[in-house]
Amino acid sequence: MLAHLPVLQVILPLIAAPVCILLRRATLVWLFATVVCVLTFAISVVLLVQVMGGEPIRYELGNWVAPWGIVYVVDSVSALILVIVSGIAAVAMPFALRSAASEIEPDRLYLFYTMYLLCLAGLLGIAITGDAFNLFVFLEISSLSSYTLISLGRNRKALHAAFQYLVMGTIGATLYLIGIGLLYALTGTLNMADLAVRLAPLLDSRITLAAFGFIVVGLGLKLAMFPLHLWLPNAYTHSPSVVSVFLAGTATKVSLYALLRILYDVFGVRFDFEQQPMSALFAIVAVAGLVICSLVAMYQQNVKRILAFSSVAQIGYMLLGVAFATAAGLQASLLHIFNHALLKSGLFLAVGCLVLRTGSSQLANLSGIAREMPWTMAAFVVCGLSLIGVPATAGFISKWYLVSAAIEKGWWPFAALIVATSLLAVIYIWRVIEVAYFRPASDRPAGSPPATEAPLSMLVPTWIIAAANIWFGLDASAPAAITARAAKALMGAGG
């Protein structure tokens, strides 16, 4: 059975999704989906342990050998992403029981869980596949299901946000597909490893350049690279709380992973950073995203929106690490993928608790809420500190690595910029904390219902994530070891 784990990783949620349609009873479906998510997480952990102990695992679907058939490849990079995605999915599940029930129509709940599992299967598939076209298929599975998930939000703005994301996401996926089509026309293969070999003598071709451009812009749209992020704030703001948690923790990161895969494994480091100005491009969009979106986040009146803009800014850190074009930079970037998944899903979990009890994520409705919901707000503060990058939290670790990488590269101004943008994060997180802790409850709009502490089924997942933020802030040896190896694997692959 152990040999089948790579394929089970993806097909377990994929098979579970239609079973949810057949089960139909909301609580039953929830229980089933929770078990599936936990099992999926267990599989990913086993895979990670296997990969860290030896060689990358390859699994040929239908026993068709590599360049002809589809291969799943689990190496240290994909194993890390698998653990992040399935981990967030599993933690959000217990939270979903109360949160989803309060925000989604009861007769649609079983469809919500179906879509959730499909989205999970798609994201895991992107991380595990070694085939460029198969990656597109999984990208579409995860995207289509996330459009549906977002549209399930409580008000009609959710529909608009989902449609906006649908249009932008489809353009992104189409551009990626055009790029892959060009590469296929040029080389006659879709397998990533095979593509890298056949593409090596063709790197000067204009078709390669066009394909490169299409793929970078296409995946840039999906990962909300700065000027292409316009779909993200609305999507995260208006979707149901659980969906915000899941997507904020996973979706953009998996797209970034896909971009890294293509950049490093298909085109190769030398092409990206010596022949093409990817360092400059990533550095520019990263800095622009970091500064502008952090500033925009400071002026938002909705906590979910603050966090959404902060997400776009944080993607800037990840791209900045890639822009350094060194193993240390890439490691910092991968570490931030892991740590940001932890801290941002923690923040959205806390906001989900607030939404359940107050019915809103508008700042005005949260005046003095910390007195009624001390545990929820404490978790928010912990994850907020992690977002800022205070020592002894996970966020500090990735910023530390990022600053070290910047100094190692000799890009001093960027080290200063990382610190400066962290101060911007202090401001927008402080706004929430100030409202929740220091404003009187009487500032809330008239007619607001009195709030009580969130139920345990939601507090426990929130605190698991908050505790993980502290744990990985104090002892980052495991993620550091995994990302060091992953960065080395990616840098080495391109030769």
């Binding site: 089948h4 097909i11 098979i15 349609i21 679907l61 026993n63």
Partner: protein, 150 residues
């Protein structure tokens, strides 16, 4: 549509042929052009034509939404189940060669099973989408203001 005798008769004549043609496309898929997706769409067209001519209520009686939901889910499960079956037979996921003693027979059986799953899901989803959209139209028609406009 009650008065359109020609349409009603022609539709009644055509529907069986559409269904049989869908099955032909379905099972001929591994020899010639065709396969589960195309067959599923053609199969669904028969029900959509019936709904257009004889009304949504009658179509819902022929193909209850519960069946459609089951069909949507079962198709995917047949596909994935074939893959799981090959895993239990000692092969890898979707390794059809394991389904029979002779590898090429196994490939045939596998493709037929998988394509049947695809066809079932595609047909169910197509009819569901049509019912949902047609149902919306019906709701707005019941609105008295809209009725005057129409």
């Amino acid at each position: 549509m009650r008065n359109h005798l020609v349409l009603r008769v022609i539709a009644k004549l055509l529907i069986p042929f559409i269904l049989v043609f869908a099955l032909y496309v379905q099972f001929h898929g591994d020899y010639g052009p065709g396969g589960g997706f195309q067959a599923g769409v053609i199969f669904a067209v028969a029900f959509i034509l019936y709904a257009l001519i004889y009304g949504l209520e009658n179509a819902r009686r022929v193909m209850p939404p519960t069946w459609l939901r089951a069909g949507t889910a079962l198709g995917v499960l047949i596909y994935a189940g074939t893959g799981i079956a090959t895993m239990f037979l000692g092969g890898k996921f979707l390794d059809y060669s394991r389904l029979a003693h002779d590898a090429s027979h196994g490939q045939h059986y596998g493709i037929i099973a998988v394509e049947f799953g695809v066809g079932l899901t595609v047909a169910s989803v197509m009819v569901t989408i049509f019912f949902v959209f047609a149902g919306r139209q019906r709701l707005t028609d019941e609105d008295p203001d809209e009725e005057n406009g129409a």
